[in-house]
């Protein structure tokens, strides 16, 4: 008994020392970790002429937000951000909506095909994009021609939204179905007994209960869809319709030597998701947890 006590005191001291050491290490490591981002922010705050005349390590003569103003003006960042908004928000809403529909049917009602649908959706989420992107393009053009308007889906926000939904709905379905399995069967049964039809069952009974999961997922989905840049490069031929992340490609080429302007542009592009992450951190983590650990 006494040896255990003595051991634990010694142990606790050891632990304290180890812990402080590890804390310091992780702290330093964290600074190194975030340094590239800090450097970009720093670059964005310095005027171009300073760097040209005095080099990148020079002590700043002045710090300014000029680069940001110029970025917004010259690089038309406002337009691109709006595009990102126009694409991301509907995509997230539709993805969650469709995901909840499928999860609802598959968990609340017993059908033989339930498992197959879940498998289909989950697997679909993991297919490599390059496997499908060219046939998707052809399909969009072909469908467009069927309806007499090539731009029905191609070069159209609608087409881009559809593609995002198609790709993300699998993950949403998977997560929401795991979550829905935790909703007691009794709730559904009492709803049915009360005479609710399927639609009321979904809309009035289940959907409100999904709020936490939907909140978490929406934060996750918004981040993923907003950050995506590849589809718009393929499906939007009008540069002025592209979301900010895709436009960065063009801007990077055009302003390749104007580091400071480009840095400001990159920071502006990154801002929405970063801000959302800090403000909604809990939801973010909850969303990830729901999706990857079961129960």
């Amino acid at each position: 008994m006494s040896t255990a006590v003595v051991q634990s005191a010694e142990y606790r001291n050891n632990q304290k020392r180890k812990d402080t050491f590890i804390s310091i290490f992780i702290g330093i490591f964290a600074f190194v970790w975030i340094f590239p981002i800090l450097w970009t922010v720093w670059t964005s705050l310095r005027p171009y002429n300073d760097i040209i005349s005095y080099g990148i390590f020079s002590w700043p003569r002045r710090l300014t937000f000029d680069n940001y103003i110029n970025a917004i003006r010259e690089m038309k960042i406002g337009v691109y951000l709006l595009n990102s908004l126009l694409v991301t928000v509907p995509s997230v809403i539709l993805t969650l909506f469709f995901g909840s529909l499928v999860a609802f049917v598959v968990t609340r009602y017993q059908y033989k095909f339930n498992l197959w649908i879940l498998l289909l959706f989950t697997a679909g989420n993991m297919l490599p994009i390059v496997l499908t992107y060219i046939p998707v393009f052809w399909m969009f053009i072909w469908i467009g021609e069927l309806f007499g308007n090539r731009n029905l889906l191609y070069n159209n926000y609608g087409g881009l939204i559809l593609v995002h939904v198609g790709f993300q709905v699998g993950f949403a379905t998977f997560v929401l179905s795991s979550y829905m399995k935790t909703i007691p069967k009794e709730i559904s049964e009492s709803a049915t007994i009360d005479g609710a039809n399927v639609f009321r069952h979904y809309w009035n009974v289940i959907l409100p209960l999904l709020r936490p999961a939907l909140a978490a997922l929406s934060v996750l989905m918004t981040t993923w869809i907003y950050n995506e840049f590849f589809w718009a490069l393929v499906l939007m031929s009008d540069d002025s319709k592209r979301p900010i992340t895709s436009a960065l490609r063009r801007l990077q080429g055009q302003y390749v030597t104007d580091f400071n302007l480009l840095a400001a542009g990159a920071i502006i592009a990154a801002a929405p998701t970063v801000i959302m992450f800090f403000v909604l951190r809990k939801q973010f983590i909850a969303g990830l947890t729901l999706g990857s650990t079961k129960g």
């Binding site: 060219i134 393009f137 052809w138 053009i141 090539r150 731009n151 191609y154 070069n155 490069l233 393929v234 031929s237 009008d238 540069d239 002025s240 490609r249 063009r250 080429g253 055009q254 390749v256």
Partner: protein
């Protein structure tokens, strides 16, 4: 100017009339504006794409497009796109909903996509411009398969050896006289001795090094062999091809250490910062020198890549031909054709030049009398060549040049001793290509 005299005397060796290139008359009679369908287009909208070019590109486009609007009453909506992305997604863009007209490149890129039905046939428009366009340029813009042109030629530029006169003087050589292989090697050696780069190359993009290969092959084996090689009539494993790579290997020790890290703009910067002796590149970058300072621009000089095999002299040059094409799937093909014609017409060209375009136009109406010495030298370099190639990735089929030859040359630069294996591989991949 005395420099001019020297240029002339060099030219007299080869009787300047370029067969494949453009014979530029220094006359300034801007022919009367080609009468496009002015009234027909009134009120319609034509869409234009500028491929890269930054602020200057936009300014040039605005000038030309505004003049077009004034003339025909048609509205022009212009956008600028990242050149690489445009090229990488070209097939998709053309099949989708492309802009009506855009700047494009002659050679495989217009011929192939024209034959596939994605670019409009511009025979009529070229016919109307026949007075101002040299036959050689028209021939360069015409597809050898369908005999139709899918591009109206506008500009071209030489790929040649650039260096800074001051640096050459510093190592004790005459900047006006770098015209043999030995001179060239001496320039690189002496520059390297000073601790700088002898020959700068940036191969990150995969295509830059093709310029060096093109010119070496043409110097060693001649224009005909090179074109044969690119089209499968000669073999990559042939001893003659290997000979070309032997000369290429001689250049490698003079190159910068970060060849794979930089692209063409890195090459340019090396020269701009006086860190390299010589550079083989297209002359389009000269604008950047001018933007930096007039002194830098005045220091810039260009000569034809020196002779290697006296049988071929310096009779061949890469001078890519650019122009304007019209997308068949554009909403306003008619308007696109008219706009394209305008861009290539003397009127349109005058607008572009006024707005700051420093390219060399093939049009006979193009006035070069006011040219500065560098530009005159560019003309001389072009005129010195009998045979004009467009550059490997325009002269060879698209699924061979970029994906197969580009990496092969890069791998060679990384490990020159592997050349036999590399060439066997390139030949095998050529043999495996499906017929087009």
């Amino acid at each position: 100017m005395s420099e001019e005299k020297n240029i002339v005397s060099r030219r007299s060796v080869l009787k300047g009339a370029a067969v494949g290139g453009a014979a530029l008359a220094a006359g300034s009679s801007l022919s009367a504006g080609t009468a496009s369908a002015a009234t027909r287009l009134k009120g319609s909208t034509v869409k234009w794409t500028t491929r890269g070019g930054g602020a200057t590109g936009d300014a040039i486009a605005k000038a030309v497009n505004d003049a077009f609007t004034k003339k025909t009453g048609a509205k022009v909506v212009a956008q600028q796109v990242n050149s690489d992305d445009f090229q990488n997604n070209f097939a998709q863009i053309m099949q989708g909903s492309p802009d009506d007209a855009f700047g494009w490149m002659a050679g495989y890129r217009s011929n192939h996509f024209g034959e596939m039905g994605l670019l409009a046939d511009l025979t009529r428009e070229i016919g109307r411009l026949k007075g101002s366009l040299p036959t050689a340029a028209i021939k360069g813009a015409t597809s050898p398969v369908s005999k139709k042109p899918y591009i109206i030629p506008t500009t071209y530029y030489p790929w040649a050896l650039h260096y800074r006169k001051s640096m050459v003087k510093e190592i004790g050589m005459n900047p006006e006289k770098i015209d043999t292989w030995d001179d060239f090697v001496k320039l690189m050696t002496l520059t390297q001795k000073k601790g700088l780069v002898g020959y700068s190359l940036g191969a990150k993009g995969g295509w830059e090094a093709m310029g060096t290969f093109d010119v070496l092959n043409a110097r060693v084996n001649g224009y005909k062999y090179h074109i044969d090689l690119l089209n499968g009539r000669a073999k990559w494993t042939d001893a003659r091809t290997k000979e070309t790579f032997k000369y290429f290997a001689e250049l490698i020790p003079f190159m910068n250490a970060n060849v794979m890290d930089i692209s063409w703009d890195g090459m340019r910067d090396l020269l701009l910062q006086k860190k390299t002796g010589a550079m083989l590149m297209g002359s389009w970058f000269a604008n950047d020198f001018k933007a930096k300072s007039q002194a830098d621009y005045d220091d810039l000089w260009v000569v034809p890549f020196p002779q290697i095999n006296p049988k071929f002299g310096i009779d061949t040059i890469d001078a890519p031909l650019d122009g304007v094409s019209v997308a068949k799937n554009g909403k306003n093909v008619d308007g696109g054709k008219a706009l394209a014609e305008f861009w290539a017409s003397p009127e349109g060209i005058a607008q572009a030049v006024k707005a700051g375009d420093t390219n060399i136009y093939v049009s006979k109406s193009f006035d070069t009398s006011g040219y500065d010495s560098f530009n005159k030298q560019k003309l001389a370099v072009l005129a010195a060549a009998k045979n004009i190639m467009f550059f490997l990735d325009r002269d060879a089929r698209g699924d061979f040049a970029g994906p197969i030859v580009g990496p092969a040359i890069q791998n060679f630069i990384k490990k020159p001793s592997d050349i036999n294996k590399i060439l066997e591989n390139v030949q095998a991949q050529w043999d495996a290509l499906p017929k087009q």
